[in-house]
């Protein structure tokens, strides 16, 4: 039983480390090779956990080989176009300049129903509004609408709004995030001054944010609801 316990803990640590080595991607964003490797990994890890007579190396060695090959090949594919062509699936243009490519649909084994369904998911009800539909490497479909059908943008209206950038959470549940503070152009004394203005202490703050324009928003703990 000890063996099983230790093997399970080691498998968990090893698998998490291996997935970290592969990089941050969600299941839906996995490429074909990454998806296959993820499936294989789960099988390989389960092998020595379900059968005590199988050495742990039977799981560790193939996992290292699979992950290493994937990481190395991904890196080499970034550097070499030939390798990229060899190992990576190319995006397929299903609708090109408003015209449906039937040959690409047949090649990708996508039916018209499926294409229409993908467009509906993207809130497009009329296929004639689509300029480009591209089936990406991860299986998701990117759709670019015709300029007459897409939403009006700020550029269309010829407006020049101020860039808001992103909002940095500086205090979360009474704790100052030094890292987020360092991302802004402010320091601790500025933070204290802002808190003083609002007449509150750090520990009283539920959330304090600042955006790139300098707009500060403070939510006190008492006003959580």
């Amino acid at each position: 039983m000890y063996t099983l316990f230790i093997r399970t803990v080691l498998s968990y640590i090893f698998l998490v480390g291996a997935m970290k080595l592969m990089g941050k991607r969600q299941i839906g964003q996995l490429e074909l090779s990454e998806f296959v490797i993820t499936m294989l990994l789960s099988e390989l890890v389960a092998l020595p956990l379900t059968d005590n007579t199988i050495p742990f190396t039977y799981s560790i060695v193939p996992i290292i080989i699979l992950i290493s090959c994937e990481v190395i090949i991904s890196y080499l594919a970034l550097k070499s176009n030939k390798l990229k062509k060899l190992f990576r699936v190319k995006p397929a243009i299903i609708i090109n300049k408003g015209k449906i490519s039937i040959s690409q649909m047949e090649k990708m084994r996508i039916g018209l129903d499926e294409l229409l369904s993908q467009l509906r998911i993207k809130n497009i009800s009329d296929i004639s509004d689509v300029e480009y539909a591209i089936l990406e490497q991860n299986g998701q479909m990117s759709v670019i609408q015709k300029s007459t059908a897409r939403n009006v943008t700020v550029e269309d209206l010829d407006l020049k709004p101020k860039e808001k950038g992103i909002t940095h959470p500086l205090i979360v549940d009474g704790h100052i995030s030094e890292f987020n503070l360092s991302l802004t152009s402010h320091d601790t004394s500025w933070l204290e001054k802002q808190l003083k203005k609002q007449n509150c202490k750090t520990e009283d703050v539920f959330l304090m944010t600042v955006d790139d324009t300098g707009k500060v928003n403070i939510i006190k703990k008492g006003s959580k609801k």
Partner: protein
């Protein structure tokens, strides 16, 4: 880039481990097979030294086998070596010869199907 370096080092470590463990275990298995084959067929003709040598060689390497070979096969060899010793001590020709042959079979099986499995890859 850091991930690529780590992955390359891990792959290199695995390759070195695979090659070295295979070479070492193959050499050791060949020794064991030679020693087991050299044992006489009758316990009365066998010497304590021969059996001790066999046991020592196994003792030295069984941990390595348990890393690279299914535990069942490792246990089989341990059991048969122990049976050879029992047959020799009790001067029981039947047990001794059966254990010697079973030991040779078990070692041969590991040698050809588990470690040098190049002909079994596909």
């Amino acid at each position: 880039m850091k991930n690529v370096v780590i992955a390359s080092l891990l792959l290199l470590a695995v390759i070195i481990f695979t090659v070295l463990s295979s070479l070492h275990s193959t050499r050791s298995l060949d020794n064991l097979i030679e020693m087991a084959s050299a044992l006489s067929d009758k316990p009365s003709d066998a010497t304590e030294e021969d059996i001790k040598q066999l046991e020592n060689e196994w003792e030295k390497n069984w941990e390595l086998y348990s890393i690279i070979v299914n535990f069942n096969y490792v246990n089989n060899v341990s059991r048969e070596i122990s049976n050879v010793r029992s047959g020799y001590t009790a001067d029981d020709a039947g047990t001794y010869l059966a254990a010697k042959n079973a030991l040779l079979n078990a070692l041969d099986y590991i040698r050809h199907t588990q470690i040098i499995a190049l002909d079994n890859i596909i």
